[in-house]
């Protein structure tokens, strides 16, 4: 019997679950996340390993905040030589123009806008000048190189040519923008540079995971979770570490889908301080259309569309009444009224209203009774409003409630058909990692006229090939997402095409 372990390193807790070959949860554990995240990770891993036969574990999937933390704390980041191909175009806004000074000082080993790049119709802006690349890199103190070509999502050859040169002549790792983001030069370039800066972090995480497996005598194949709720091999994670950012919310959404059986649903992850709402479409997280900011840097990196509201189990109820945004946080067990403290919280309001069967007991709200019941009405209205924003007006789908504060949600919410409260919802993130698929994507521009069908087929084949590269079983890969967006102000009609393929992992035994 083969087992899979899902691990999720979150801001507060590190969770671990073990699923059997029929996807039944056979063990789970929650441990505090430690400053050196590997310590907490091992503690959670050991806790579940005690309950199962380690030799039966065939795969281990890790969702982690290592990369996010490295960027937020400007810690452990590598120095990157930043190359943009597109001169003389684009020079009015050089690379890293919108970066915070401290992050730029930490990461940048110099920036250059060199000849190269393409127009929207594929015509070259200027010829690639490999000599200029050499002159820029010679003697430069960089640990990696980031290359971003204008319109490279539609014409990738120049980025690849620079990568070959850098690998052959300088032996440095190279991050290529067409592998990372979609159109929008500055945002894609930012993601590409962050990716290159994270190579060291990726080495350490994948190394730590590998050595953790060895030290526990596990021969399981390891994977890392990425921002869209799918997996990558460690080899791919070392190449595209920035893709691990945002894996937490994605895993939570995928886990909620799996635990509840709902493929199209709203998911509310209720924590101590805030509630994250997301949307499942066909079992995958709906992605945000807006640019995503990471550590003060805008990227067009595709992230789950998450709406966070300041509402959680620890939210403090004030006179008025008001709810949050202040929270007692992890001190809820000593400060909340129901647990003998003196601070009225949303948890107290939930208990008073009978929403938490297992909590509370003989506690009496006394003078706070009216305030708390009013506070719960405010909280319900906030949830209703947030749910409405996320449904985009489409009613009739269920809401899956996960997270430690899920009991706070009312039994019925306008705009959703049902409120589902699956078992094991408190470890939904780790479950989401354990059940994840492998995926690949393509994002490019096509002329709307001739060869359109042919080029869409080519993009589908490329996306499937990328999924296989990420570890998917070639026989099980499907196109899970395909959309075209018409572009404005172009006299030749053109569309932006997005294709995503995903499939279960290749069997390894």
């Amino acid at each position: 019997m083969s087992l899979r372990i899902g691990l999720d390193v979150g801001g507060t807790n590190t969770d671990a679950v073990v699923l059997d070959h029929e996807d039944r949860l056979v063990a789970k554990a929650k441990r505090p996340t430690t400053p050196d995240v590997t310590v907490g990770l091992l503690a959670a891993l050991d806790a579940v390993l005690g309950a199962v036969e380690p030799a039966a574990v065939t795969r281990i999937m890790l969702g982690t905040t290592h990369a996010t933390n490295a960027i937020l704390e400007r810690r452990g980041l590598g120095r990157v030589a930043v190359i943009r191909l597109g001169a003389p175009a684009t020079t009015s806004v050089p690379p890293l123009s919108d970066w915070p000074d401290d992050l730029r000082a930490t990461v940048s080993a110099g920036e250059a806008v060199l000849p190269g790049g393409h127009f929207v119709d594929g015509y070259p802006i200027s010829a690639l000048d490999l000599g200029a690349v050499r002159r820029f890199l010679d003697g430069r103190d960089a640990g990696a190189v980031a290359v971003t070509g204008v319109f490279s999502p539609a014409s990738a050859e120049q980025e690849q040519a620079v990568a070959e040169l850098v690998t052959r002549e300088y032996g440095l790792p190279v991050s290529l923008s067409h592998e990372l983001g979609s159109l929008g030069l500055l945002e894609r370039e930012n993601a590409t540079v962050l990716n290159a800066a994270l190579y060291g972090v990726a080495e350490r995480v994948t190394g730590a995971l590998t050595s953790a497996l060895e030290s526990r005598g596990l021969s399981a194949l390891p994977y890392l979770a990425q921002n869209d709720g799918t997996l990558m091999t460690l080899e791919q994670a070392r190449r595209l570490p920035v893709s691990t950012i945002g894996s937490g919310p994605a895993n939570s959404l995928r886990g909620a889908a799996f635990l509840s059986g709902a493929q199209d649903a709203i998911v509310a992850d209720v924590g101590g301080t805030s509630t994250d709402l997301g949307v499942l479409v066909g079992g995958f997280p709906r992605e945000s259309t807006a640019a995503t900011e990471i550590g003060g840097v805008l990227t067009n990196f595709r992230m789950p569309d998450i709406l966070a509201i300041a509402l959680g189990g620890g939210s403090i109820v004030g006179p008025g009444p008001s709810v949050g945004p202040e929270s007692v946080g992890y001190r809820i067990a000593e400060l909340a009224l129901a647990f003998g403290g003196g601070v009225p919280t949303l948890t107290d309001a939930g208990i008073l209203a009978g929403r938490a069967q297992e909590l509370g007991g003989a506690w009496k709200a006394g003078e706070f009774e009216l305030l708390l019941s009013e506070a719960l009405k405010i909280s319900d209205a906030m949830v209703e409003d947030a749910v409405d924003r996320m449904t985009l007006g489409r009613t009739g789908r269920p809401l899956v409630a996960v997270g430690g504060g899920a009991f706070l949600l009312p039994a019925s919410i306008p705009g959703v058909s049902d409120v589902l409260r699956p078992r094991h919802a408190e470890v939904a993130n780790a479950v989401g990692a354990a059940i994840a698929l492998a995926s690949g994507r393509v994002d490019t521009i096509l002329p709307a006229g001739q060869n359109r069908a042919e080029r869409i087929e080519a993009a589908k084949t490329e996306a499937a090939a990328r999924a296989v590269q990420a570890g998917a079983d070639p026989g099980g890969v499907e196109i899970v997402d395909l959309y075209e967006i018409p572009l404005s102000y172009l006299s030749e009609p053109a569309v932006r095409l997005h294709v995503k393929a995903a499939g279960p992992l290749k069997p390894n035994r």
């Binding site: 003389p88 684009t90 806004v93 050089p94 802006i125 159109l183 929008g184």
Partner: protein
Amino acid sequence: MELNESDIPALARGCAVLGTGGGGDVRVGALAATRAIREHGPVRVVRIQDLADDELIVPLSGIGAPTVSHEMPHGEAEAHRIVEEVEKIFGRRPAAIMSSEIGGSNGVAPVAWAAQLGLPLLDADAMGRAFPEVQMVSMYVKGLPADLVIMADVVGNVTTIRPVDGLWSERIARAVCVAAGSSALMADYVLTAARARGAVIEGTIGRALRIGRHQVLEALQEELGAIRLITGKLTDIERRTEGGFVRGSATIEGTGADRGRGLLLELQNENLVAIEDGEVRAMVPDLIAVVDTETAAAIQTEALRYGQRVTVLAWACDPIWRTARGLEVAGPRAFGYDLEYRPVGAGA
């Protein structure tokens, strides 16, 4: 007046409001302006009365597809190429450049071009807002001959067009733009200061700056002299691409004091017509902006999304657009709406 690095965020916000949903994203233009000021120093803003009658003003704008400018921002040479060409034709260096379109990216990007050129920026533009077509400028309304268009692209090609009128300048400029990869810089109507008087909309740089400094809805409304059409929630957004332009409509349902009311916005890159209960409450060329109720920041038509809490403001366009010729060029019929223009706030 002088524009410094610290003025750019407010200018960009104000230009976004005056873009009435279109005119392109102000972010890249603001980054370019910031860089150019850091590199070349602050930009002096001048008025027409500061210039001698025969001094030259070059109205500049970016022309092209928003998706393209997002992927391929301008270089640093285009403005130089255009000014060199102006010098060849007129035999003297221009005294100032001007924004052709204060609304959206073309309102803030000229700060970068002025800094690169070391020329002052005229406190004026040719629209007082954003419009989608080249001939929709005050100089065309005033009947100035549209006999010169100079375009420069990212690789350095310069195209000089001698069109027979403004409509031909739009047609040919658009074709050149496509050949140049759907992005170019353009000078349309090179003006002497004498000619510019009464033919441009003055004071719009200062106005955009003042508008952009407001982050509270009521204050913004007062600054604009706008009427509030509705405060509510965006409940429907529909978009389609026709003839290269994004068209569509947005529905806003009233909340709070406006509960029970609804507003339909007709969009064509810009917000063009606002309808309530079958009654037109505001229409182009008057300005209609959708702003975030909480932050008073303008929302572009492309960024409109279900569930946003918004307020729709409408205010009067420059008087030049309310003349018979102005309405012919950029009134409701110029955008395909069979409507008799009625000024915003004029009552039923």
